[in-house]
Symmetry: D2
Subunit: 347 residues, 4 copies
C-alpha cells in the first residue's frame, strides 16, 4: 500500500510499504479514508531525533474497518470509525482513570503511545493502518457526520477541549489563548463553549488574528509586549490562560497574564527544559497543567456538539490533497505556505 | 413614598408608606429605579398564608444609593447598584460558604431572608428600600449596563444559572428544561452557555415554545405524555433535567426523563410535600438538588457575560409600566394576559 | 455443583445444580472460595416478587479462575479474583462513565445487572459461577490479602464508600449515618477516612450502637425523636447525612437533620414510592443522591487502604459457615440471631 | 510595648515600640497571648532583601481583643481570637473567591498582605498588634481550645492542608511529602486525614524522619537518589507529591516521582526562578499548583478536627520561651538547635 514514510529531517516520501495485518486478537485494521497532518508531525519532519527512520507517519485518521481481531467487541467489518491518536489497553488502572497515554500494559516505546512516531506503532497517513486494542481506541462515526467532520476528534479538537478543561474555563471567565493555529482555534472554540465571557487570542500572524476575530474572539498581537497589553485589557489578569503553541517564553507570559488564583493550561508541545519564574506562580496562587490528550475521554462530550452543529471542526481545513502529494503537503504545512491552517489528505 | 403593598389574597395596592431609613450601621437605603414582579411574588398574591398583610412586596430591584450606614465599606451615596434578593450578613460560616440564605446572624423571620415577604424585610416594589448588610448584598452596576440589563441579576438570572449549575450542565450534554417562563428561559440560556449540545424546552404554552425555538432550543409540548416523548427524542434519557415551574408532577417526570447517572435540579418553588417515585432514582443513580438562589455567588460570573453581550437578560421583558400601575401589573402577570413574560416597573 | 437456590419466600435451599460454563468469549468461570449474604439478598428471601424461582443467589463472592473465554485479556486460569456485584460490558458509553449498572450492551433483565437476582445472571453463593465481561468486572486479589479481606470489595465496602462520596464528606465535616449494619458500618469508616470531624451513628439496636462507639463514632438511638436529638447535638444540622438502612422515614429524618447546604446520600435500598417533605429540601438548599454501587470505580481507591491496613473489612464478620448451611445462614441473618452482623460462607 | 524587631540580616531584637492603635473603623487591636516563629520569618532573618528594617516580625499569633473599630461586626472586646496570616478586605471579588492574599482593596505593599514583613503591616511577635478588616481576618477561638491548640490555625496548619488540597489527596492515594518540618508535618497529617493509603515522608534529618514514622508515615531519606527510591517504593510514581521545603531541586524530584496524571503541590516558599524539566510534566500529564495560604478558607474545616481531637497541632511544639527571648529563639530555630521543630513565644 501507499504511505507517507519518514526518511530523515525534512524528508518524507510516499512509499509503497507492506499492508498492515492483525497482530493481536484485540487489533483492527482500517482502510483509511481521510488523514491530516498535525503540528506535532512537524517535530518528526524537523528531525526531532527519534533515532529511527522508515516508519509511517500520522496520528489523525478515520476510516472503514477492514479486518477485526477475534477479541474485539464493539466494531465490525465495514464500520466507519475514528481512531484516537493516543492508544491504551482500556483495562489497566491508568486506562480506567482515563489516562490511556499512561497505559501500563500497552507501551509502544520511548516515543509514547501515539501513532506515527516509531516502527512500533506505524501511523495512519497511509491507505491502511493497524489499530491495537480497538475496543478502547476506536469510536463509531454517526451516519450524520461525514469523515471530515469526525477527523479532528482523533486529536486536535480534544486537545483544544483539554486546554479549556485543564484551565477550568467556566461561565463568565476571561480566557487568553496563545496561538491561532489549528489547536489554538479549537481551544478558543472550547473556551467559548464553556461560557467564557471573553476569549482573547494571541498570535504573530495578522491573518490568523483576523480569523480569530471572525470567530468572536478579541485579539492581541503576540510578541514581547503582549503580556503588558493583555494585563491592561484584562484589568489585572485573565482567569484562564491556554498555551497552544509550544514555546517556553509563552509559558512565562502566561505567568504574567494570569490573575491571582488563575489557571494555566499548556497544550502546546514543549520538548525542552526551561527557566520558570516561580515566584510569580507562588505570589499569585497559580495552577499549571499540561499533558497529552486522551481523546477517549473527550469524544463523548464533543461528538454531540458536532452532531448538533454547535461545533464545525471543518472550519480549519484550508487544503485538501491526495495522499500521493504527501511530501508537498508537509512542505506547505511546515513553511506556512498558501495561508495554510490545516491540510487533509485522501488516500 | 409610594409602594406596592400586600392587603390580602389577590389584593395588592399602591399605597403611601413611610420612607425607609437606616436602622443598622451596615444598612444602605436605595432610591429604586427599576423593579420587577417575580413568579414567587405570585405565591404572596395568591395568599400563600404568610399570616400578615401591610408589607411592601418585591425582591427584584436596582437603584441609586441614597443613604449609607457608617460601617458600609463598598458603596457610597450616588452609586448605581443592584440588590440580591436573598440577604445575609456576609461574615458568618454559612455566608462564607456562599449560602447567604442560610445566614446564622441575619434572620428575617419564617418567610426567610428574601425581600418583600414580611414586615421584617420590606420589598423594593417601591420608591425606596432599606438593604441590610449592604457590603454583602449590593453589587455596583458597571456604567456600560443600563438598569434593565442589571435588573435580573437580582434573582431570576442567577436562579436560572443555579439550575444549570445544580444540574452540572457540561459541554456536550443534553438538557431538558421544564418551563419557558422567565426562570426557565434563563435556565435554557445558562445551559447553552455551559456548552449543552441540546437544550429541550417543555411548556404547555405554544407561544412560549415558539420563543424557546427562536432561542435555539428544541421543544416538546408539556403534559402527561411529555416524559415518553422526551425519552424518545433523547434516546434513553437526558444528562440533565431542570425543573423551572414548581410542580411535583414535573419532578416525577424528571425522574423518568433523566438518564442513568443523570442530574436533576429543581429551581421551581414547590411549597408542599409530594410522593416521589424513589425506585426510579435508585435504579438510575440520580442526583436531585434544589434550593433558593444566592445571587452573590452567581453575579461575578454572570455580570461579565452581560457586559460582553453574550447574555441579554432584557430579552424577556414584555411589559414596562409605572409603579403606580402595580395592581394592574400583578393582574396581567398572574393571569398571563397580553402574552406577558416579564413586567418591569418604574417608580 | 452445590448452590443456594431460591425456591420462594423464606425458602432457600442448597441444591445440586448444573456446573456453569463459558457462554461468551468474554466470560470467565470462577471456583468460588468465599461468598457472603447481603442485606439485599433478604429482599429476595422475603419474596420481593421478582416473579421467578430456581435461580442461584448471591452477589458477594471471590474465587479462583477456572476457565477463561478467548477474548479475556486481564486474567488467566488460576488467578485469585473478586467479582463486582454490578456487571457491565466496560466499553459502552455508560460503562466508560463508570456507570456499569447502566450498561447499554449487557442487560440481564428487569432485576438489573446484579448477580443472583434472576436466571439471567445466576449468583455466586455456589461452588462456581460464570462472570460475564470478565475484563470489566473482575479484579485480581493481591497476594498480601486473603479472601475474606477482599470479599467485601465486591459490594458493601464500595457501597459504604459510595455513600460518603455521594454525601461529599470532606475534612472537618459532621456526618450522620443512619444504620449500623454492615453497610452503615462501612459508610461510617468511609466518612472517617475522608476526614470527618464527627461521625454520628444512629440505630435502634443498642449493641450495634456500642459497636459504632468502639469504632470512634458518636451515637444517637434511632426512633421518632432521633432527628430532634441530632439537630441538637449538631447545633443546627449535619454537613452530610448517609441513609444506610433503606426506609422512607429515615430519608425524611435526613431532610430535618441536614444543615442548610447539606448533602444527603441514600444507599439503603428503598423499593417503594414515598412522600417527601420537599419544602425542607428547598428552604435548606439540599442535595439528595442515591444509586446502585459500581464497585469498579471504588476498588482502585479502597484496595490500597486494605493493603496498608487502614481499613480492615473483616471486622464485620460474625459468622463463618459452610455453604451447605446456607438455609440456616439466611435464617440467622434475616432474623438478626446470635448478634449477627455478617455471614460468610465457604463452598 | 515589647516587640521583636528586624534590624538587619541575622539581627532581630526585642525592642520597645509604640503601642498599636486603631487606624480604620474596620480594625481591631489584639493583646497577643501566644505567637510562633515560622519558617518564612527566616527568609526575613536571613535578609531576604525586603529593603527596610525596623518593623515588627511575626504572622502567627493569637490573642484577646483589646480595642474594636466601629465598623467591626463579629468580635467584641475580650474575645479570644486568632488572626489569619494573610489579610484581605473580605468583600472584593478576590476575597469573595477566597483569595484574600490577592485582595484588590487592601494591599500592604510589595511584601504582600502578610503580617510582619513590612512597616505597612507590622507583625504579632509583640505584646499587641493591629489587625485590619477584623471581620474578614479574625476567628473566635472556641472555649474548648487553649491558645496553643488554636495558634497554628493562623498559618502553617492551613498551609499543610492547602498542600493536601492542591495535590487533591483522595482516599487510597499514595502521597509523597518532601519535608518533615512544621509545615511538612501538617501536610502529612492533612494527607492522612483525607484518606491517603500511604504517606511517604522525605527529609535529610534522621530524627525528623523518625518523628514522621511515629506519626504513621513511611520514610525515605532525602538526597539526590531519593527520587529513584521513591519511584521504586511507589511502583511507578505517587498520586500526589507535596513540596513543603521550598527548594527548586525538590520540585524537580517531584516531577520524577509523580505518576502519570499525578498532582504536585508546592507549598514550600521558593523566591527564585529555576529550570523546570517540562517534558516530564507533559509526558506524564501533571498538574503543578502553588500559592500563599488563605487560612480563612481552611479554618472552618480544620477547627472542628482540633475540637474533636482528630488533629493535635501542639504535637510540633518543642520550645516554649518568653517573648523577651525572641532573639535567642530565632537563633535556635534558624540553626536547627536543640532538636527544635517549632518555637512558641509568650509575651
Amino acid at each position: 500500500m501507499r504511505a507517507i514514510v519518514y526518511h530523515g529531517p525534512k524528508d518524507v516520501r510516499v512509499d509503497s510499504v507492506p499492508d498492515p495485518a492483525l497482530r493481536e486478537e484485540t487489533d483492527v485494521v482500517l482502510r483509511v479514508t481521510r488523514t491530516a497532518i498535525c503540528g506535532s508531525d512537524l517535530h518528526v519532519w524537523h528531525g526531532a531525533g527519534l533515532g529511527a527512520s522508515g516508519f509511517t507517519l500520522g496520528h489523525e485518521f478515520v476510516g472503514v474497518v477492514l479486518d477485526v481481531g477475534r477479541a474485539v467487541q464493539t466494531v465490525k467489518r465495514g464500520d466507519r470509525v475514528l481512531a484516537c491518536c493516543t492508544v491504551g489497553c482500556g483495562a489497566c488502572g491508568a486506562c480506567r482513570r482515563g489516562l490511556l497515554s499512561g497505559c501500563t500494559r500497552f507501551q509502544a516505546g520511548p516515543a509514547g503511545n501515539v501513532f506515527g512516531f516509531s516502527h512500533e506503532l506505524p501511523g495512519g497517513q497511509a491507505e491502511a493502518v493497524r489499530v491495537p486494542y480497538a475496543d478502547a481506541n476506536l469510536f463509531a462515526i454517526p451516519s450524520a457526520l461525514d469523515d471530515e467532520q469526525a477527523l479532528f476528534l482523533t486529536d486536535i479538537l480534544p486537545t483544544g477541549a483539554l486546554g479549556a478543561e485543564l484551565a477550568e474555563v467556566s461561565p463568565g471567565d476571561t480566557v487568553v489563548v496563545f496561538g491561532c493555529g489549528p489547536v489554538g482555534t479549537f481551544a478558543q472554540r472550547a473556551a467559548q463553549l464553556r461560557g467564557a465571557a471573553r476569549v482573547i487570542a494571541v498570535d504573530l500572524d495578522e491573518e490568523r488574528l483576523a480569523g480569530a476575530r471572525s470567530r468572536g474572539c478579541e485579539t492581541v498581537r503576540g510578541g514581547e509586549d503582549a503580556a503588558a497589553r493583555l494585563l491592561e485589557t484584562t484589568r489585572g489578569g485573565a482567569d484562564c490562560v491556554i498555551e497552544a503553541v509550544g514555546r517556553p517564553e509563552l509559558v512565562q507570559q502566561a505567568l504574567f497574564v494570569a490573575r491571582p488564583g488563575g489557571r494555566i493550561a499548556v497544550i502546546g508541545v514543549i520538548l525542552q527544559a526551561f527557566e520558570i519564574l516561580w515566584p510569580l506562580a507562588f505570589a499569585k496562587n497559580l495552577s499549571l497543567r499540561t499533558g497529552l490528550v486522551n481523546p477517549q475521554t473527550q469524544i463523548p462530550k464533543l461528538m454531540p456538539l458536532i452532531e448538533q452543529g454547535r461545533l464545525d471542526p471543518t472550519e480549519i481545513i484550508t487544503h485538501r490533497l491526495p495522499l500521493d502529494d504527501g511530501a508537498r503537503a508537509y512542505e506547505i504545512f511546515a513553511h506556512h505556505r498558501d495561508h495554510v491552517l490545516k491540510v487533509v489528505l485522501s488516500p
